[in-house]
């Protein structure tokens, strides 16, 4: 075996690693793979080595295997689903086939996006009404900021059919921030204070990232939109959070009903189908382009995780202003 054989592999995304009867369970998209302690250590060393410039000899010494044995081990990891062969990437695929691949990946991405401890904290009663309010006010800004990126996607799109779909989406969504303003007024905030407030940096970052996607590639923008809409397709996935907050933190129903109304409207408009409609208009997509688009989608997943971190971190501090006022050098 030569060095090229080992370098033919790349690691797949592992969503979680948990101990399991003395072994380690690696969650990849479609299954869980259990490795014994020695195998898990070798896998970790191999996965760390693969993207580096370190020599094969160095790796062999570190793991205590010769190259032939290590390559066989990599082949087993490939068959199990922890590694993939770069040569197996298809040269191109149809828009519909790409959507099918995305649909299979999306549940894992969403579980990653919402894996932040904030959700467990809120559901278990360790959160607070303040943290709920913070989440709501950032959701207000995020929804209002749709006006910063949705029209931009139309402006930068060259395909008439696709830009028409995004224009319709925008026309249906542009004023949805009112639902969140209504919920916030039920919590005692005036509409003026809500409108004047400034979002957290990560809330702003979400819309700035969408603006970046809108300028660069309409499919990249569309996948980001699909990831966001993917969070609102099923009432059973979001109701428990709001019901728990109402019960645990004395949040009035008037501060929750507008959120349900908004989510129901999204379902009614079938916005989660938009990406499929867009991709139906794409006869073929190169592997390189498909990867770039997927990468935008996953970056958005990571944005959601860090957005949650920013909300949790800021609103957990009782000294942090709520809502955040713009800075005034003449008054501060």
């Amino acid at each position: 075996m030569t060095q090229a054989n080992l370098h033919a592999y790349s690691p797949r995304r592992v969503y979680s690693v948990t101990p399991c009867d003395g072994a380690l369970a690696f969650q990849v998209r479609e299954c869980v793979i259990e490795l014994g302690p020695a195998e898990a250590t070798t896998y970790a060393q191999l996965a760390e080595w693969l993207p580096t410039v370190r020599s094969v000899d160095e790796l062999c010494t570190a793991v205590g295997m010769d190259e032939a044995k290590l390559t066989r081990f990599a082949a087993h990891l490939g068959a199990a689903g922890l590694l993939y062969k770069k040569a197996d990437l298809p040269a191109e695929l149809s828009g519909e086939a790409f959507h099918k691949a995305f649909s299979e990946i999306l549940p894992s991405w969403l579980s990653e996006a919402f894996s932040h401890p904030y959700w467990q904290k809120m559901m278990s009663g360790l959160g607070s009404k303040r943290l709920y309010t913070g989440w709501l006010i950032e959701l207000y800004h995020y929804t209002r900021n749709a006006n910063r990126h949705m029209p931009l996607s139309c402006a930068h799109s060259r395909e008439k059919a696709i830009k028409g779909l995004h224009a319709k989406h925008y026309a249906e969504e542009w004023d949805h921030y009112h639902f969140f303003a209504k919920a916030l007024t039920a919590l005692g905030y005036t509409r003026a204070a809500i409108a004047e407030s400034v979002p957290l940096p990560m809330t702003l970052a979400l819309s700035n990232f969408m603006r970046q996607a809108a300028r660069e590639d309409i499919l990249a923008y569309s996948i980001c939109s699909a990831v966001l809409e993917g969070t609102t397709t099923d009432r059973s996935s979001y109701n428990p959070f709001y019901e728990a907050c109402a019960k645990l933190y004395d949040v009035p129903q008037e501060a929750i009903r507008p959120i349900y109304a908004h989510l129901d409207l999204d379902v009614q408009y079938q916005h989660s189908d938009l990406f499929h409609e867009v991709l139906c208009k794409v006869p073929s997509i190169s592997a390189e382009h498909a990867s770039r688009v997927l990468d935008y989608g996953h970056q958005l997943v990571e944005h959601i995780w860090l957005w949650t971190e920013n909300i949790d971190n800021y609103y957990s501090n009782p000294k942090s202003a709520l809502p955040r006022r713009p800075f005034d050098p003449f008054l501060e």
């Binding site: 995304r13 990560m202 700035n208 971190n313 800075f327």
Partner: protein
Amino acid sequence: MLSEIPLLRRSATVSPAPGRVTIEYLDDEITLEGAGADLLERLLPHFDGQTSLSGIATRVAEPPARVERLASELQRAGVLTFLLTPSTDSGPMMTGLEFYALHRRYVSHWLRDVYAHPLWEKMVTGKAARAQVIGFAFEKYHYIEGAYEHMALAAANATPEMMPHLARHFIEEYMHGDIYRKGLSSLFPDELVLYSQPLPSTRALINFLNECASRNSFGYYAGNELLQMTENTSDEGESSSINKFYDALLKHYPYTKRLVDSFIAHTNADQSLGHKDVFHEMCESVPPLTPREVKDAMNIVKSMAEHLMLFLDGIDVFYGNFPTVPRTPCNLLSE
């Protein structure tokens, strides 16, 4: 003055104690004792921007002249302002050099949180994980490489006064990312370094710079100056802290030798450009600013400080939870 409406500056914090009142504001602290403290304690609830000085004097049953005297002293110390100060474009203009002084005062205060970020402590004590240490180098690379985006956008959208500064800035800095790239290429293939993904928090910082650069030349540079102030230092104390940081990195993470070399090379490259004085030169050359322009620029600067904290949070928290480094882009099989 008695008709004016006083407001204790919103970011001032008051700590009353028996016979004494302390007000903290930015990096300053003012303490009043005895009769002055007693009067201040009675006045403070009324410094809420609702009542004129004469009205306050009536409410606390004090001679207006005494109230006015204390208010003047507090105004001179910077902790009290009057609502007649401008809030729109109709107020008096501020010169560029006045803005420079205002900028320096707030930025030195806002940067305190940046310098106290827990990531530094973790790195100098060896408690940071490999992903956080290498991740730090990658994120610095992406941030510096972002000059291709925001500095170019700033030059392309510059006002006439700002154009020469912003053009020169881009031309002098666009290749600085390669200094970090060289360090990272000692550990990873060059192609992988080029195509690696920044963290969302780093992307957030670059995108925020991009957005500001596209709409407000002066505000953009005022924000960028906050970032530059963490890089350009000729202060001996700060230089010594930076050297200690590099020494600690090498001690705990010997594999970072080439990375540290690239950090030092970049600091030297920045310092040799004399960028330390550029913002002052800009402030000398810009036309006077309206109150609205001052507010807009200072809001950009404050938001930049928050984005810089986010940049450090991202390295600390994200690499702590998702320790894959380098961050290679997705493809159809990786997921």
